[in-house]
């Protein structure tokens, strides 16, 4: 019998459901899988999936349109996504973009008439060390130059790139990670299971003073303790590998080099709080890491480090699965991440309740960053005392920093807390910088006059992304880039974040044109504070930081434009 297109779609979707599942929580994996089959998710497919998952098709549409990497209409065979983070812009992304446009004869957001290429900008893809970088479908190309992208396009035209090994182009990142490199595999897990009660594991972490490395800095021991105390038949450990903060790539490097330590940390957490299910939430941009991670998981299962009765400990069962994100920076926020895991739009929840009480599927849930979990493995293996011996009074231990921008030695650095910005610049050979962005776009823009500030929770205690801006950099261009990012990545719930960031971006453009009155600039500064204080999650609470900072530190530059951009 001749199958119609829709019958075929139905059959494929039914088949996918048998392997992926037919629960509401599998909505996003299903949409991605359907897209893998057909290149996009058709209106019919959305309705059929909705019908199968017993939800309104309109809601599927709402979810599908939320995520950047779910195509609602057919796109080119090769989808080229050029990273738009500031490190890429500084290293020539704009000329690469021009080359791409000229080679393909289309603008960004368009598809070539022959259906071969779609050209898009994308938010940071975690390759800032080798900027500029782009993805062609799931494959990453870095250190791009215009001649290089011309060659890549030609290769795609001949379709030879399909034979290219997927990991090949990511390349090596300069990484100085002493503690990680010297970690004895599974020492922490073995020690915990053999010698420690769950409460002791939590105690060790509490004493170590480890704080969440994703940026929020919540004490890890306290979080684990709350989850351990929460009563439930089911608990979840989620590893947040949705590393979307522009300028950060340390989690990619950790997952590439030390995935075992991350999984060990998750298993430790499972042991400590009594959870049986672990989920690695991997950002779509890191799809190229997935085969490697699946292999590591399988090896761990073989070695009885995952599964039933781990390390022969009776009743200790824990396993980990990988769940792919679909392109939304805000899903790095833990409650938005949980929403997307439940098959919904990645919109942060109202808190309380917090995930440790009511998280995934209403169950107690720990969401920890990749680095937090890997570091927890180091701590339990070597003891809290070792860890507290490093760092400062209020900032214990070490931290991984992703350094990019105007410096000679970008890369991932494992450094003790307590260094000044100036010391860091000396280390990475970026001395003489005009400003340094500490903690990613949501962090602080530190001007040269404040390079004596300390990196630690007592001062600049924020995430691990460091972007160095040299003397020739135009701070309005920086602010424009940041705000474009936040405008694109806002989930759109809170009024201030949804509309306010756009107004700030418009304001930067007025400043660029030289038509922003002082009065209006003051209105926008006032608005910045209101956006920060009224937003539900960290995105809106931090997005105006750059606007406030350029006004505070670079007012002469933004008003009078005395320097010319390099």
């Amino acid at each position: 019998m001749l199958l119609t297109g829709q019958d075929n779609e139905k059959a494929v979707i039914r088949e996918l459901m048998t392997s992926i599942g037919s629960e509401r929580s599998e909505l996003i994996p299903l949409l991605l899988a359907v897209q893998d089959e057909f290149g996009y998710v058709s209106e019919f497919a959305m309705q059929f999936i909705a019908d199968q998952l017993k939800m309104p098709p309109t809601e599927v549409y709402g979810v599908a349109t939320f995520f950047h990497f779910i195509n609602k209409k057919p796109k080119g065979k090769f989808i080229i996504r050029l990273s738009r983070d500031m490190s890429s812009i500084m290293k020539g992304a704009k000329s690469v973009a021009r080359q791409l446009r000229n080679d393909l004869g289309i603008r960004f957001g368009e598809t070539t008439p022959d259906g071969m290429f779609t050209l898009e900008w994308t938010s940071c893809i975690g390759m800032n060390y080798q900027a500029p970088a782009m993805m062609v479908n799931n494959e990453v190309y870095s250190n791009l130059t215009p001649p290089m992208v011309h060659r890549i396009i030609e290769e795609c035209r001949q379709e030879i790139s399909i034979r290219r090994p997927t990991m090949g182009n990511v390349g090596e990142t300069y990484a100085s990670m002493l503690s990680y490199a010297s970690h004895e595999p599974n020492a922490a897990l073995t020690r915990a299971v053999r010698e420690m009660a769950p409460a002791d594991v939590i105690g060790e972490l509490t004493v170590s003073g480890l704080k969440g490395r994703g940026g929020a800095g919540f004490p890890t021991g306290v979080k684990w303790n709350l989850a351990a105390k929460a009563e439930s038949d089911l608990k979840y450990i989620i590893c947040n590998a949705d590393e979307g903060e522009p300028g950060t790539f340390k989690d990619r490097v950790i997952l590439g080099k030390y995935a075992d330590m991350v999984f060990e940390g998750m298993t430790l957490a499972g042991y400590a709080v009594g959870a049986t299910e672990g989920i690695l939430y991997l950002r779509y941009e890191y799809t190229h890491l997935r085969p490697h991670l699946e292999a590591v998981l399988e090896t761990r299962r073989q070695a009885r480090l995952l599964g039933e009765n781990i390390l022969d400990k009776d009743g200790f069962s824990f396993d980990i699965r990988i769940h792919m994100g679909a392109g939304a920076y805000v899903c790095g926020e833990e409650t938005a991440l949980i929403e997307s895991l439940e098959g919904r739009r990645g919109e942060p929840r109202n808190r309380p309740p917090y995930p440790v009480e009511k998280g995934l599927h209403g169950r107690p849930t720990i969401v920890n960053n990749v680095e937090t979990l890997a570091t927890a493995s180091c701590i339990v293996a070597r003891g809290a005392k070792w860890f507290t011996g490093i760092g400062t009074e209020r900032s214990k231990g070490f931290k991984l920093f992703s350094v990019s921008g105007d410096c000679a030695r970008p890369g991932v650095y494992e450094l003790p807390w307590g260094m000044t910005v100036q010391q860091l610049l000396e280390l990475v050979d970026g001395v003489g910088a005009k400003a340094v962005q500490v903690g990613g776009y949501t962090g602080e823009l530190v001007p040269a006059s404040q390079f004596d500030r300390v990196m630690g929770y007592e001062d600049l205690g924020i995430g691990g992304s460091i972007i160095v801006y040299g003397q020739g950099r135009d701070m309005l261009e920086v602010a424009e880039n940041y705000l474009e990012f936040f405008v694109e990545e806002s989930c759109g719930q809170c009024t201030g974040c949804r509309i306010g960031n756009q107004k700030l971006l418009d304001g930067v453009r007025l400043l660029q044109k030289g038509t922003c009155s002082n009065r209006y600039l003051n209105d926008l500064i006032g608005l910045s504070h209101s956006i920060k204080s009224t937003s539900k999650c960290g995105l809106g609470q931090a997005s105006p930081n750059v606007f406030i900072a350029i006004n505070a530190h670079f007012q002469e530059e933004i008003m009078a434009r005395p320097i010319l951009a390099a």
Binding site: M46, P57, T58, R345, G492, T495, R498, L527, T534, Q541
Partner: protein, 632 residues
């Protein structure tokens, strides 16, 4: 006799309310000390002590969203402001609701909303009844600080026969999305896309007429602005009234008379029945009739159909007959069935809704009696409902040979017409309904409240079957077990004896003894989200599958909470309207459908082969269309 309340629709994001054994917590709000159960939101606590906190995305009918951020307050010890609607009180706190930071933040949020809000207040149906406008006034907005759109971003969607969507006026509060999903279980609307591109959308942004919408209008009732409004037909009706060749009559449903006073600044629940008659005549209608007559007629027809179904199913064991029988007077509910349970539409009573029965009778029975040409007649229906606009346009609704009902006007539209005429409704003298119909029964009136159709049906069924006065079983004929506000409820009515059965229906079945000792099981459901639960229960063979007859109303509270009623709506307002409806019922001389002399006369003069006979089938019954959920 027992009632079994059922859980209402289980929401994912539940409304934030304290648990049953919550500890008491002391706190202060603006220096006022108070004690509340743990888990109470700051907003609710503030309301308890009379502190007003402005809101926009919050609605008492809906679960918490916490997205507009207008209700932010300062909580001592917290770095950021907290949305009072979404923040449960879990410890002793000090709240400040009117600090400079708070006022600035609220003003900024209002400024931002206005910077995206395209439209002119003077030309907006919600002018002077708009929450955004109120906020702008309250916070002294005297210029557009962050600009104001000069061009529309969206094309106005006028495709639906019931609802107009102007997304240029949308403030993304998501109340329509939540109403459609939580109250109605339809899920026609969602938030699509993200960031500044986020917008309320139908499936794939298709026109409303092309997607699964039941036209109930709950989105309109819950919208704070003019983004969602009814399709306005007042100009068309004016044109008909002004045309001297047309004989323009209006039938008025029970709920508008209980609600329209709100459009004239009266307290909710002030009945306006007879003032409304005067106003309608002054507006220019040639005659004013009470839809309750055909509500009474619906009871007789639907009740007869039920007896026939029961006889065929229980006595003749005919398995093709579907039970429970569902009421069919709510057009939103009918469309819901056609879309979501297309395979079960045989459960719906074939009886038309009172609006459509009246339309057919007016253009036949009345036209002849009055000596007017039905082709020159215009039948207008005053309804609490936007789905009635869709219903009167259904192609099958032409049994008079013409379009049976020409226009369905909502309470809000009619209030505008009355205002336009310069009539101060609360202060006009009373006037009766017109001949030949005159006064109807109280049974028809209570159709407006959830449980009313069932109560009206039971008043007649009990008397006609048992031969006893219903007052012998229920004080003042108030059948309390079917009243209430639970989303879905059941009641059992034992039939202890039978006969003598009145002649009107006696011939329907060979004997009536089989009913003796039987227990009639009935259900009452309102809000289609609750209907969804009941339908799934029936499919699964649960308690509702054992019912014989179930009343379904699409809207929360029944018709009095309809999508065409005055805005705002809330559980309290609907309770007041219900009180008015039961009050009108109590004051009626006739309170049982089968005692309505007009109905009895109709069966003698016009529907001469009795209830569910051929003539009544032609004029008073209809059929349904399985539509399904998939959109091409």
């Amino acid at each position: 006799m027992n009632t079994k309340p059922m859980q209402t629709h289980p929401h994912r994001h539940t409304a934030i309310v304290p648990g049953p054994d919550a500890a008491m917590i002391d706190l202060t709000i603006d220096g006022i000390e108070l004690r509340v159960p743990e888990g109470t939101t700051i907003l609710d606590a503030a309301r308890q002590v009379g502190v007003r906190i402005p809101t926009l995305c919050h609605h008492d009918d809906l679960c918490t969203a916490g997205v507009c951020r207008v209700c932010v307050v300062e909580v001592e010890g917290m770095r950021n402001l907290q949305a009072s609607c979404a923040t449960p009180i879990t410890r002793s706190i000090e709240v400040k609701t009117n600090t400079r930071t708070v006022r600035n933040a609220r003003r900024h949020i209002i400024d931002l909303l206005l910077a995206e809000h395209y439209g002119d207040c003077n030309t907006c149906k919600r002018n002077n009844n708009c929450e955004l406008q109120d906020l702008a006034t309250e916070y002294g907005v005297d210029f557009y600080r962050f600009g104001h759109p000069t061009e529309p971003k969206y094309v106005i969607d006028r495709s639906s026969p019931s609802i107009v969507r102007d997304m240029n006026k949308c403030v993304l509060c998501r109340r329509c999305v939540r109403a459609c999903e939580e109250l109605q279980g339809v899920g026609c609307l969602t938030v699509a896309s993200r960031s500044s591109r986020a917008h309320v959308a139908t499936f794939a942004n298709k026109p409303l007429a092309n997607v699964v919408c039941i036209n109930c209008g709950q989105c309109i009732n819950h919208c704070p602005t003019g983004a969602l409004t009814e399709v306005d037909q007042t100009d068309e009706v004016w044109a008909m009234i002004d045309d001297p060749t047309k004989h323009v009559v209006i039938q008025t449903a029970p709920s508008p008379r209980a609600g329209i006073g709100e459009c004239f600044d009266l307290e909710p629940g002030t009945p306006m029945t007879y003032q409304l008659n005067t106003a309608l005549k002054r507006v220019g209608f040639d005659a004013v009739f009470d839809t309750n007559h055909t509500a009474d007629l619906t009871i007789i027809e639907e009740g007869t159909e039920l007896i026939l179904r029961l006889y065929k199913a229980l006595v003749e064991k005919d398995e093709s007959v579907k039970l429970p029988q569902f009421t069919s007077c709510s057009p939103g509910w009918v469309k819901y069935m056609e879309n979501f349970y297309a395979g079960m539409i045989d459960h719906l009573s074939s009886a038309k809704s009172p609006q459509q029965m009246f339309g057919s009778l007016l253009k036949t029975y009345y036209a002849e009696k009055r000596g007017v040409d039905p082709a020159e007649m215009v039948v207008v229906a005053l309804m609490p409902c936007t789905a009635k606009k869709y219903e009167c346009n259904r192609p099958e609704m032409t049994s008079s040979g013409f379009k049976d009902v020409d226009y369905g006007l909502t309470t809000r539209e009619l209030a505008r017409m009355i205002k336009e005429t310069g009539i101060d409704l609360p202060n006009v003298p009373e006037a009766p309904f017109d001949d030949p119909f005159g006064e109807a029964s109280g049974a028809g009136v209570i159709f407006g409240a959830t449980g009313g159709v069932m109560e009206a049906a039971l008043r007649s069924v009990i008397e006609m079957v048992t031969g006893h006065q219903v007052e012998d079983f229920y004080d003042h004929a108030n059948i309390l077990p079917v009243r209430g506000i639970e989303g879905a409820r059941m009641a059992e009515i034992p039939i202890t004896e039978v006969g003598p059965v009145p002649d009107l229906i006696k011939h329907l079945v060979p004997d009536w003894e089989w009913l003796k000792g039987a227990t009639l099981k009935v259900g009452v459901v309102h809000g289609t989200a609750n209907a969804q639960l009941v339908m799934e229960d029936i499919k699964a063979g649960g308690p509702f599958s054992e019912c014989h007859f179930i009343e379904f109303m699409a809207c929360p509270g029944g018709c009095l909470g309809g999508g065409g009623q005055p805005i705002p709506t809330s559980p309290e307002i609907r309770a007041q309207r219900a009180k008015a409806i039961y009050q009108i019922d109590e004051s009626c001389a006739v309170r049982k459908s089968h005692e309505n002399p007009v109905i009895l006369q109709l069966y003698e003069e016009f529907l001469t082969d009795g209830p569910c006979g051929h003539i009544s089938h032609h004029h008073l019954h209809t059929h349904y269309t399985p539509r399904g959920k998939f959109i091409r």
